[in-house]
């Protein structure tokens, strides 16, 4: 078993375990911290696939900005474990069974596809480097890139308008 395979299984176990802890933690702050751990594991997967630019963007945008925003909102609302209402037991069980069935159906459908013979290129290949991505982004995708700045402006205006006190 090569070091790449060991790292793959370690990062997968870390991602799945932290993702399970996100939905099982009673305290919302702990959920946010476990979600940050999940994002670090997924960034590790990106580095393993040599998508270095996206690994860094994932860390900065998700684990940095978005999760700090979540933590900020949770602390603003002063939520903790005993204020959270729980669904009743049967609804929880029904949700878990529904999710498990979805997992079962997807795994069953994808178990024996012909795609099984294809391999993923690990740890080399240069398409994930910032030079190649930048060349394509600013040549062929410059219009969507500029439109996304308009999207950000409208999101910022929307957040300020919605969050404004009084009306």
């Amino acid at each position: 078993m090569s070091i790449t395979a060991v790292l793959f299984f370690f990062l997968s176990a870390l991602a799945l375990g932290s993702a399970l802890m996100v939905i099982f933690s009673k305290n919302p702050v702990h959920s946010v911290l476990w979600l940050i751990a999940t994002f670090f594991a997924i960034s590790g997967h990106y580095i393993l696939l040599n998508a270095q630019f996206l690994a860094i963007v994932n860390l900065i945008v998700y684990a940095g900005a978005i999760m700090v925003l979540f933590l900020f909102v949770i602390m603003l609302m002063n939520l903790n474990a005993d204020t959270e209402p729980q669904k009743n037991k049967w609804l929880k069980m029904a949700g878990a069974v529904a999710g498990g069935c979805l997992l079962l159906v997807l795994v069953g459908a994808l178990r024996d596809t012909e795609i099984r013979t294809h391999a993923v290129q690990m740890k080399d290949g240069n398409i994930g480097l910032i030079h190649n991505l930048g060349m394509v982004l600013f040549k062929e995708y410059v219009i969507p890139f500029e439109i996304s700045s308009v999207l950000f402006l409208s999101a910022m205006v929307g957040a300020v308008v919605i969050g404004k006190k009084g009306d």
Partner: protein, 111 residues
């Protein structure tokens, strides 16, 4: 690494997100589970881009096939950042109006 491993990892992460959305009542946790599902899809897109790159390499050693998929992931992250800012603003407004983030109180979207 076979592509199947990445597919099953992404499917498992996505289903954990679905279970979280279905079993929790806190609006913020539900929102976090949606982020988890988005990340599972991003991981699968990057794995497929590297798979496509590897099969294109067999034909052309200088190929840049697969770059677009990584740019799509970049744009998904851009849209997700905008979505989170607006969504959290909505949750804060909701909390200010009804002093709760319980989704069961919000089933009529009025108070």
């Amino acid at each position: 690494m076979p592509i199947n491993y990445y597919i099953f990892l992404a499917v498992a992460l996505f289903c954990i997100g679905v279970v979280g959305v279905l079993t929790r009542r806190n609006a913020i946790i539900i929102f976090m589970c949606i982020e988890l599902m988005l990340n599972a899809v991003n991981l699968l897109l990057i794995a497929f881009s590297k798979m496509h790159h590897l099969s294109a390499l067999a034909l052309d050693a200088q190929t840049k096939a697969g770059t677009e998929a990584q740019l799509f992931v970049f744009f998904i992250m851009v849209v997700a950042a905008a979505e989170v800012s607006v969504g959290l603003a909505i949750i804060v407004m909701m909390y200010r109006n009804i002093h709760s983030v319980d989704v069961n109180f919000l089933n009529r979207l009025k108070h």
